[in-house]
Each structure stands twice: as C-alpha cells, then as structure tokens.
Amino acid sequence: MFLWRGNIDMTSATSPAKRIDNNNRINREGLRGWLNPLRYGWERVSYWFQRLTGIFLLVYFIGHVYETSSLVSGPDAWAAMLEMTQTIGGHLFLILVIGASTFHTVNGIRLIFTESGQGLGKPGRPDYPYDPTSLNNKQRSGLWIAFILAAVAMLYGANVLFSGGD
C-alpha cells in the first residue's frame, strides 16, 4: 500500500516529564477535562459556561452577603461599601454579574427541560453519519437564547451603569 519507507525520524522524551503512579496507573483528566470546552461541541460549551457562571455567582453571592452585612455598622459604612461599585472596575464587575446570572438562569431552564428528556427527540435507527438526536437544534436553541439574553442584559446594564440609562 505504501511506497515510501525512508526518513525514519524518531525522537524521544520531548514532552515534560511526568511520573505515573504505577499503583493504579491513573489517567483521569480531572479538572483538566472541564477546562477546555472547545473540543466537543456546543453542549460542552454550555456545560462549561454553566459551571463557570455558577462558581462566579457563588463567589458574588458570598461577597454580596459581606457587602450587605455592612449595614449593621451604620449608613456610613454602607455608603462606603457602595462607593466600591461606583468605579469603572465595579461597573464592569456588575455587568459580568448581570450576564452571568442571566445566562445561568436561562440555560438552567433549558437544562431542566433537556435533563428531564424533553426536546431531545426519540430513539430511532441510527444512520450514517450518525448525527446524535439529542444534540439537535431544538434544545440547542435554548443555548442561543441564553447567550443572546445575557448579551442584551449586559448591554442594558452597561448603558444604565455608565450613562445612567439615558
């Protein structure tokens, strides 16, 4: 089949050295498996964004509780805390919060439907090239809506925060 057999080029030990735990020969991706969302299609991107926004909103929630707890120290402390959000950095952070919460909510609604078997189609006889029924545009449209609404909410939020909604 192959006509050409020359140019043997073999180099070894070019990758960073990594010892294997030979007791169990672990090869689990771990969190590395989550970090690259670009390999497996839009549902994996959705999974990645849902996790990322979820963690981000959790961090925001903790910060938010800390922020509102300043009320117990009096109006001055509360006003001083609010001043932190009146900077450009504070505005950008709040815009991210708006986008994350919008996406997480809308995509979460989509996931409620898909994870309970709705909008995924029915099993059938697979035919080449085996496009998966569950990865259809019907359920995927929920992801587009989540992205669009998040973008719209962020734009609206930016307009309100930076120009006072004028």
Partner: protein, 301 residues
C-alpha cells in the same frame, strides 16, 4: 480551534490524493508526522511518559490506524496498540487523536486537516502500555447495570419448550440504537463527570441501562433503576453531550440517559408492555402470570 462536529459527508476539499514520494529522499510530501504517546506503566514502574515521532507516508484514504501500523511495521515494532477489526465494529482501537477520543480505524488522516497527528491513550482509562489502556473499571460499570435480559417468565432452562418473544418494530426502535454500542470507551473518556468521579457509571453503562429498561422483553426494571438512582449515579450527568458527540456508532448515550432520568423523575410514564412469550411447539401465547395459555388463533381474533 474548530469545535464543531465535522460533517463526514463533506467532500474532501482537495480531490486529488495526497501524493506519495517515489524516492527515499528526505521529502515529506505525502506524509504526516505521527506523535505517539509512549509509556510502559506496568512493566517499568519508573517509566516516564513521552512522545515518539514518526514520519509516515499517507494517502487520502489512510486512517490513523493504518499510519500507526505502518510506523509499527517499518519503524518501531514496540509501539503498543490494540486493534482488531479495522472497521469500527470491535471498538478496540479507541484513542485520543488530536485531543479528541476517536476510533483510529474510523478516522481518516485527510479528515483531520493537519500534518501532525498526536495519538494518546484514552483519558480516564488507566495506562497499560503506550496506547493500550485498562478497561477493567469500564466493564465493571457496564456489568453493574445488569446488561442482560431479566424475565422470570422465560423458560430458558427447559430446552424442550421452544419459545420466543414477540416484539413489534415500534418496540424494537425504542432501544435498537442503544444496542449498537461496541463498548469502545470513547464516551467514557469524553465525559467530564467521569473525569472527576470514579464512581459515576459513565455514559456507556447508563445508556445500556436504558437499553434494557426500554426493551419490552425485559420485565425487571426496578432493580436496574435502583442501581443507577444513587448519589454517584445517573444524577451526576449534566448533559454536556460529549458522549454523543464522540460516539462512532450513533448510539447517542446522552439521549438514553436523559430519557431514563425522565422516567425516574416520573415525567415520562413507562408505556412498556411486556412482550408475550410464544411457545412455538404448541403455537400458543403464555400470559404474563404464566398460567393461562391462549390459542394463537384466539389471540388474533
């Protein structure tokens, strides 16, 4: 990076076959660089994983498995690789090719649109040697969902009684695609939950649970559902869809998992009617309680 699933029906851009050099000079025309993950984890405890590189001649129809076997035949016979059928039926040659789990025999180099092919063992499977991984845990998960027919009415030990289940094409379609699973492990290696949760059965096992759950010949669904309805069971799936994306046989494990979950949630009602057992020797149907028999002609009426 292209995150979209490549349409396999797409015409190959360059209709002309990759040219193969007719001389043994250093020309790389019509060849690709094959980077193969090497390790001997079992025999050499201190072995350090690394990549070996091979320049391999290719044509338009050359698969990654062809290229690996060429390198093994003519350059380094010690490359560890598992394969058998070369036609995406046995599921032996699963590996991570350019970052995505694929079957080496089912992946044409010309479809990869690159001159460097990186072959690594499937993630989430323990190493054995080079591209060969240990499927023990994977098969344990598969066994754990009881992937076999359970029907107390079946009289298999009594070989004198020839019986068969009657199943309509509609009933068959409910589970047929899930029965096409070749247990190649690609879905298991692509799943982000498997990557972090050892106890999670994985898409393959869960889709097989649905395959038998939906089969009208199987009557014991409660035990199987109890096995997967656990903290580390079906609820750990978050519909990342990666399993269905990499499946080479169109099994669509994500669909099976979500449908199974909808049954567990009570959203979908099981409409399964247990298939009747026909005694072919007497041409009668056996009722589900196993006592009453109905003449076939009577049943038709």
């Amino acid at each position: 990076m292209n995150i979209f699933r490549k349409d396999k029906r797409k015409e190959i851009k360059n209709e002309l076959p990759l040219e193969v050099s007719n001389n043994t000079s250093t020309s790389n025309k019509g060849s690709v660089k094959l980077r193969v993950f090497r390790v001997n984890a079992v025999q050499n405890p201190n072995d350090i994983p690394h990549f070996d590189e091979f320049q391999v001649p290719v044509k338009r129809w050359t698969t990654v498995l062809d290229a690996l076997l060429d390198a093994k035949s003519y350059q380094d016979s010690s490359i560890g690789i598992r394969y058998s059928c070369r036609m995406a039926s046995c599921g032996s040659c699963g590996m991570k090719i350019n970052g995505i789990p694929r079957l080496a025999c089912y992946t044409k180099i010309s479809d990869l649109d690159t001159n460097t092919i990186t072959c690594e063992p499937l993630p989430n499977f323990p190493y054995i040697r080079d591209l060969v991984t240990d499927f023990s845990q994977f098969f344990n998960h598969h066994r754990s969902v009881m992937p076999f027919m359970q029907n107390k009415k079946a009289d298999i030990p009594n070989t004198n009684e020839l019986t068969e289940y009657k199943q309509s094409p509609q009933d068959l379609d409910k589970f047929l695609q899930f029965s096409y699973c070749i247990k190649c492990g690609l879905c298991y290696s692509a799943c982000p939950t498997v990557a972090t949760d050892v106890k999670f059965p994985g898409p393959q096992a869960l889709s097989q649970a649905y395959r038998y759950f939906a089969d009208s010949r199987d009557s014991d669904k409660s035990n199987r559902l109890k096995i997967i309805d656990t903290n580390h069971g079906i609820w750990r799936c978050h519909f990342a869809g990666s399993c269905s994306n990499v499946c080479p046989k169109g099994v669509d494990p994500a669909l099976g998992i979500q449908l199974l979950r909808s049954h567990l949630l009570g959203i979908s009602k099981s409409e399964k009617k247990i298939a009747q057992l026909q005694d072919r020797s007497t041409n009668t149907y056996r009722e589900e309680d196993g006592e009453e028999q109905i003449e076939k002609e009577d049943l038709k009426e």
